[in-house]
């Protein structure tokens, strides 16, 4: 299933809760994209989860926050059309609000 995270991993427990629970794909949007940036404390958590989960991040939200140039290797960036594709490709979606 598609797991959508829109909260910063540094400010809310949603990111950790999702990673502990999710099967399938993770899509990082809005403040959730801070988890996709290299160099922060969240990087190790993302990398550890990459073995079992596929990671995506929304390009427009990365650009808005000035971190599009530091996306962790292995995370696929998608635009809004790609977001829609992910929703349709997965049978269900869970938003970790």
């Amino acid at each position: 299933m598609l797991n959508i995270i829109n909260k910063s991993p540094y400010a809310a427990p949603a990111f950790d809760s999702a990673l502990k629970t999710a099967v399938g794909s993770i899509l990082l949007i809005e403040d959730g994209v801070y988890a996709a940036a290299r160099g922060g404390a969240a990087e190790a958590r993302v990398k550890a989860a990459m073995g079992t989960l596929k990671f995506y991040a929304l390009a427009q939200d990365l650009e808005a926050r000035g971190i599009a140039d530091r996306v962790i290797d292995g995370i696929t960036t998608v635009d809004y059309a790609g977001f829609v594709d992910l929703v349709t490709e997965h049978k269900t979606s869970q938003s970790w609000l």
């Binding site: 829109n6 910063s8 809005e30 801070y34 160099g39 404390a41 390009a59 650009e63 000035g66 599009a68």
Partner: protein, 119 residues
């Protein structure tokens, strides 16, 4: 008489309206010639990250407004070192010059204020 106003910013930009609302009140306080300082802790440090390109999400970027703070005589910008480090950032990643301090130092500055506004 001017009072010491500190604005404590702890939220990332764009995801919520807090950061923008803070900036609005900062400019109002400065327009009333108050002694204004800004503290950035936790995800608030993300507000200052340089290179925001917000066209794709359809909102105004913060970067230009930070540059205008000096015109309002707002020069006291304090950033928590620990919050930067946890997020993989250094002062070089920020859009404007700031004073990087420890949490204890920021705590002391907060304690010394007449008014603290939390965002």
């Amino acid at each position: 008489m001017a009072k010491q106003f500190m604005f404590v910013n702890r939220k990332a930009p764009y995801g919520t309206i807090y950061a923008w609302e803070s900036l609005e009140v900062v400019l109002i306080a400065a327009a009333f010639d108050q002694d204004v300082s800004l503290a950035f802790l936790d995800d608030g440090v993300f507000q200052l990250k340089k290179g925001h390109a917000t066209k794709g999400i359809g909102v105004k970027a913060f970067e230009k407004t930070w540059g205008a703070l000096e015109d309002y005589d707002i020069t006291k910008l304090y950033v928590d070192q620990e919050s930067l480090a946890e997020r993989g950032l250094t002062a070089d990643d920020l859009a404007i010059p700031v004073e990087v301090l420890s949490r204890a130092e920021i705590g002391k500055l907060m304690e010394a204020q007449d008014v603290v506004l939390s965002f």
